[in-house]
C-alpha cells in the first residue's frame, strides 16, 4: 500500500490562503497579504514537488480518500483524490506556473486599491483548479470545473466598476455555462449507464464496449457532450467568444487562467476520458475537427488585431485548438505535452505583455508601441524567447510539442493529411502574427503618444489597464516582475527537451495505454524518415512566417496598409472577428431578450401574475365598495336589513327543524 501523501493539502492550502486574505485582507497591510498569498501558493507548489520526488516509489494509480460525500442508493461520490502521471504533470504545471504568476502579480498589482481581493481570488482559483486536476471522480472534477469558472468570472470582472469588464465577466460565465450543460448531460448519461462517476469504475465499465458493440452510440454521445463542455471551458468553436473579451481582466489573470491553466481543463478532461473517446471514433473525429478548425480560424483573426492582449488571446484559442487536434487523433500524450509547453511560453507571453503595458503606462495598442527593446531589455529578451517558442522554432519548447502534434495528426490511424496541412498553415500564420507582434512592440522607434515629461513621471501611481498620458518614457518593470519572466523563459527554452527521444511520451504513456483499444502503434515507428521531412516542412513554415513579418513590419512598413486596403471587405471581416459576436447576438441573444421581454415579462409577469394579485385586491376593494352602501346611516334601512335577515334565520331554523 502507498503511504499517505496528504494530497488533500495541495488544494486546501490555497483555499486557506483565499479565506484568510478574503476575510482579513481588507484591514491588513500589503506585506501581510503578500506573505499569506505567496506562502500558501508556494506551499502548494512545494508539496507538488515533494509528491513528484516521491512519485517513482508509488504504485499507480494512487488514490487518497478524504471524506464521505454523497451516498444515494447505489450511487456514491466521495471527496477523494487520484494521482497518476497525467495528474502529476497537470499538478506541477498548475502549481508551478501559478506560483510564478503570484510572484509576478505582487509587482503588477501593487498599486491597486483592491490588492487583497485579487490575491484572495487568485488563491481561490488555485484551489478549484487543483480540485479539478486531483479529483478521482467526475463529480468532484465538476466542482472544480464550475469553481474555476466562478474564479474566472470574479477575476475577469475584477475592476467591476468598468462596464466592459463586468460584461466580459458575465459573458465568460454564461458561455461557460452552455458548455457545462453538455458536461452535465454527459454526467447524467454516465450515471445512468454505469451507476457511478468514479474514474476507475466508469472506465472499467466502458472497456467492454467498443466501436462495433451496442454501446458505441452511447459512448459517442457521451464523448460529444463532454467535448461540448470542453468547448466552453477551453474556448473552442462555437464557444470561444468569451476568451478575447476576458482580456478585460488584469494581465496576470489572463496569464494564469486564460493561458496556462483554466482553459487547459478541457484538454485535461478529454485526456482523462480517453477510454471513452478511444471507443467512439466519431466523437474523436468531432474533437479533431473542432480543434483544427478553431486553430486555423483563430489564427486568421489574430493577424489583424491591434491590441496586444487580444492577439495573445486569439493565439491561445488557436493553440488550444492544436491540443484538441492532438487529442482528436488519439495522440493524447502529445496534447498534454503541448499543454505543458504552452503554459510556459503563453504564460510568459502574457506576463511579458503585462510588463510591456506597465512599461508604456497602460497603453495596449501595438500601433502606439515600438522600440521597447531599448527601454525594457529584460522584457524584450524574455518575450523574444517566448515568441520563438510559440512559433515553433527549434530548439525551443514549442517546436517539440507542436511538431509532435503535427506528426501525429498525419500519421495516427485517426489522423489524416488534411489535419496536418491545416496545422502547418496555422503554424505559418501563428509565426507570422507573433513576429508581427514582436516587431511592432519591440523594434523600430517608439511611437507612443506625447511623452510629456512630468516632474513626478515615474513616481505617480500607474493605472494599470487605464491610459495614463503623463507617464514619461517607457521603463523596465521591477525585479519582482522580471524574475518570473526569466524563469518562464528558461522553461520555454528547455521545457521541450523532455520530448526528445519520446521521453515525455513514454513517461505519460501508461495512463493512455490503460484501457486503450489495441492500437497499431507499430505503423508509426516505421516511417522515421517521413517524420523528419514533415518536421522540416513545419520549421520552414515557421521561418517563412518570421520572414513575412519582418518584411511587412520592419522593412516596408507601408505594405500592411496597402494590403489591407486591397483586401477591403475581407480584411474588415477579419478585423471584426468575422462578426461572430454580432451573429450570436442576432441569433441567440436578441431573440432571447425579446422573447423574455414580450412573453415572460409583459404577458406572464404583468398580465397574469401581477394582474391576479392586483385584481384580487381590486376585486376586494370593489366588493367592499358595494357592501359599503349598506352602512348608510339610515336607521330605517338598517331595520329593513334586520327584518330580512331575521326572516332568513327563521326560515333556516324551520328548515333545520323540518329535516
Amino acid at each position: 500500500m502507498n503511504p499517505s501523501l496528504n494530497l488533500w493539502l495541495i488544494p486546501i492550502l490555497p483555499l486557506a490562503g483565499a479565506a484568510i486574505n478574503g476575510f482579513l485582507g481588507k484591514k491588513s497591510s500589503r506585506t501581510a497579504v503578500t506573505t499569506i498569498a505567496l506562502f500558501f501558493s508556494g506551499a502548494a507548489f512545494a508539496m507538488a514537488l515533494w509528491v513528484a520526488v516521491r512519485f517513482s516509489s508509488l504504485s499507480l494509480p494512487y488514490e487518497e480518500y478524504l471524506a464521505h460525500w454523497i451516498r444515494a442508493g447505489s450511487f456514491s461520490a466521495d471527496f477523494a483524490f487520484y494521482l497518476d502521471q497525467l495528474s502529476l504533470v497537470m499538478l506541477l504545471v498548475v502549481t508551478g506556473v501559478g506560483f510564478l504568476i503570484h510572484i509576478y502579480s505582487v509587482g503588477y498589482m501593487w498599486d491597486d486599491p483592491s490588492y487583497y481581493r485579487f490575491f484572495s481570488y487568485l488563491n481561490l482559483f488555485m484551489f478549484f483548479m487543483l480540485t479539478l486536476v486531483l479529483a478521482n471522480n467526475y463529480l468532484l472534477m465538476f466542482i472544480g470545473w464550475e469553481g474555476v469558472g466562478l474564479a474566472s468570472y470574479l477575476l475577469i470582472g475584477f475592476w467591476f466598476t468598468k462596464d466592459s469588464a463586468a460584461s466580459a465577466g458575465k459573458k465568460a460565465f454564461i458561455v461557460n455555462r452552455i458548455g457545462d450543460f453538455g458536461f452535465l448531460i454527459a454526467l447524467f448519461l454516465l450515471i445512468q449507464h454505469f451507476g457511478t462517476l468514479n474514474f476507475d469504475a466508469v472506465f472499467q465499465g466502458v472497456v467492454p464496449l467498443g466501436p462495433e458493440t451496442m454501446g458505441a452510440g452511447l459512448l459517442t454521445a457521451i464523448g460529444i457532450l463532454l467535448m461540448l463542455g470542453a468547448c466552453g471551458k477551453s474556448a473552442q468553436i462555437p464557444l470561444y467568444i468569451w476568451l478575447p473579451d476576458a482580456m478585460e481582466g488584469p494581465t496576470p489573470v489572463s496569464a494564469l487562467i486564460h493561458a496556462a491553466t483554466m482553459v487547459t481543463a478541457g484538454v485535461y478532461m478529454v485526456s482523462r476520458s480517453h477510454v471513452i473517446f478511444d471507443r467512439a471514433p466519431i466523437a474523436l473525429s468531432v474533437v479533431a475537427i473542432i480543434g483544427t478548425l478553431t486553430a486555423f480560424f483563430a489564427a486568421t483573426i489574430g493577424i489583424a488585431q491591434t491590441d496586444i492582449k487580444k492577439v495573445l488571446a486569439y493565439s491561445t484559442v488557436s493553440q488550444l485548438g492544436y491540443m484538441f487536434m492532438a487529442c482528436g487523433v488519439g495522440a493524447f500524450s502529445a496534447g498534454i505535452f503541448h499543454l505543458m509547453t504552452h503554459a510556459f511560453f503563453k504564460g510568459l507571453l502574457f506576463l511579458g505583455a503585462g510588463s510591456v503595458i506597465h512599461a508604456v503606462g497602460g497603453e495596449q495598442d501595438m500601433r502606439k508601441m515600438g522600440g521597447l527593446r531599448l527601454y525594457a531589455p529584460w522584457t524584450f529578451l524574455t518575450m523574444t524567447i517566448a515568441t520563438l517558442a510559440i512559433a515553433g522554432i527549434p530548439p525551443l519548447a514549442g517546436f517539440f510539442s507542436k511538431d509532435e502534434i503535427l506528426w501525429r495528426a498525419y500519421s495516427s490511424e485517426h489522423g489524416s493529411w488534411i489535419f496536418w496541412l491545416i496545422g502547418v498553415l496555422t503554424a505559418f500564420i501563428t509565426s507570422f502574427y507573433m513576429f508581427r507582434l514582436w516587431f511592432l512592440t519591440f523594434l523600430g522607434d517608439y511611437r507612443g503618444g506625447e511623452a510629456v515629461e512630468t516632474a513626478d513621471g515615474h513616481g505617480s501611481a500607474h493605472g494599470h489597464g487605464n491610459k495614463n498620458d503623463g507617464h514619461g518614457l517607457p521603463h523596465e518593470s521591477p525585479m519582482v516582475m522580471i524574475v518570473p519572466l526569466a524563469i518562464l523563459a528558461v522553461l520555454s527554452f528547455v521545457g521541450g527537451w523532455v520530448g526528445i527521444g519520446n521521453r515525455f511520451e513514454n513517461f505519460i504513456a501508461p495512463v493512455f495505454r490503460a484501457g486503450a483499444v489495441a492500437a497499431t502503434e507499430t505503423a508509426a515507428e516505421a516511417a522515421g524518415h517521413l517524420e523528419f521531412y514533415l518536421m522540416l516542412v513545419s520549421v520552414a513554415a515557421a521561418f517563412l512566417g518570421l520572414y513575412l513579418a519582418y518584411l511587412l513590419y520592419h522593412k516596408r512598413e507601408d505594405l500592411p496598409q496597402k494590403i489591407a486596403d486591397s483586401l477591403g471587405g475581407f480584411y474588415q471581416a477579419i478585423v471584426h472577428k468575422y462578426y461572430i459576436d454580432e451573429l450570436y447576438a442576432a441569433l441567440f441573444v436578441k431573440p432571447l431578450i425579446d422573447g423574455s421581454t414580450r412573453i415572460l415579462w409583459h404577458d406572464v409577469d404583468q398580465k397574469v401574475i401581477d394582474a391576479s394579485v392586483n385584481d384580487s385586491a381590486d376585486g376586494a376593494r370593489r366588493a367592499s365598495d358595494e357592501v359599503r352602501h349598506m352602512q348608510s346611516g339610515n336607521i330605517r334601512s338598517y331595520a329593513g336589513w334586520i327584518a330580512a335577515g331575521s326572516a332568513l334565520v327563521i326560515a333556516f331554523m324551520i328548515w333545520m327543524g323540518v329535516r
Binding site: S632, N634, R636, S637, A639, G640, W641, I642, A643, A644, G645, S646, A647, L648, I650, A651, I654
Partner: protein, 173 residues
C-alpha cells in the same frame, strides 16, 4: 261557541284594531292613544289567562306610566304630522317582505304544531302571593339587578335630557 272565545275575540279585535291604527295614523299623538288602547286590551287578555297581577301591572306601569311619558314628550317636542320625505327605499323593499315572510313562517309553524292544545280560561291564577313567592325567592337576583338598571336609567335620562350647561363666563351677568 263559548264565552271564553267570545271574550278573547273581543279583546283581540281591539288589539288588532289598535295596532293597525297605530300604523295608519300620521300624527304621533294618535298613534300613542291607539297604543294605549292596545295595552288596555292586552290587560284584558291577561285576565283571561288568569294572570291577574300581570294585568294590573300592565295597566298601571305600561299604560299608566310609560305611555304617559310618551305623551309628555310628544307634547313637549310639539311633534307634528309626519312629512313624506324620500327616506329609505331599502327599508320598504327589503323590510316589508322580510317581515311578512317571517310572520308567515312563524304562523305556519304555530299552526302546524298547535294540534288540540288549548288553554282554559283562568288556567293559571297568578295571584300576587304566588308571584311574590317566586319573585323574591328564585328570581331575587334579577330583581335586584333590575332595580339597579332602573336607577341607571333614571340617571341617564336626567343627564341626557338636561339643558346643556351655560359657559361659566356668562353666568356672571
Amino acid at each position: 261557541m263559548n264565552f271564553h272565545l267570545i271574550l278573547f275575540l273581543a279583546f283581540g279585535a281591539v288589539c288588532v284594531g289598535g295596532a293597525i291604527n297605530l300604523l295608519a295614523q300620521r300624527h304621533p299623538i294618535n298613534s300613542a292613544l291607539s297604543l294605549i288602547a292596545v295595552m288596555a286590551a292586552l290587560a284584558g287578555e291577561y285576565l283571561l289567562l288568569g294572570a291577574e297581577f300581570v294585568a294590573a301591572v300592565q295597566v298601571i306601569v305600561y299604560a299608566g306610566a310609560i305611555m304617559v311619558l310618551f305623551v309628555f314628550v310628544i307634547m313637549l317636542l310639539n311633534a307634528g304630522e309626519e312629512e313624506h320625505t324620500g327616506g329609505s327605499r331599502i327599508a320598504i323593499l327589503l323590510g316589508v317582505p322580510g317581515m311578512l315572510t317571517g310572520s308567515v313562517l312563524t304562523a305556519w309553524v304555530v299552526l302546524r304544531h298547535s294540534g288540540t292544545q288549548s288553554v282554559p280560561i283562568g288556567a293559571l291564577p297568578g295571584s300576587p302571593r304566588d308571584i311574590a313567592q317566586l319573585l323574591f325567592h328564585d328570581f331575587l337576583l334579577p330583581f335586584e339587578v333590575t332595580s339597579v338598571l332602573i336607577l341607571i336609567a333614571i340617571m341617564g335620562a336626567v343627564v341626557l335630557a338636561s339643558k346643556p350647561e351655560v359657559p361659566a363666563g356668562e353666568g356672571e351677568r
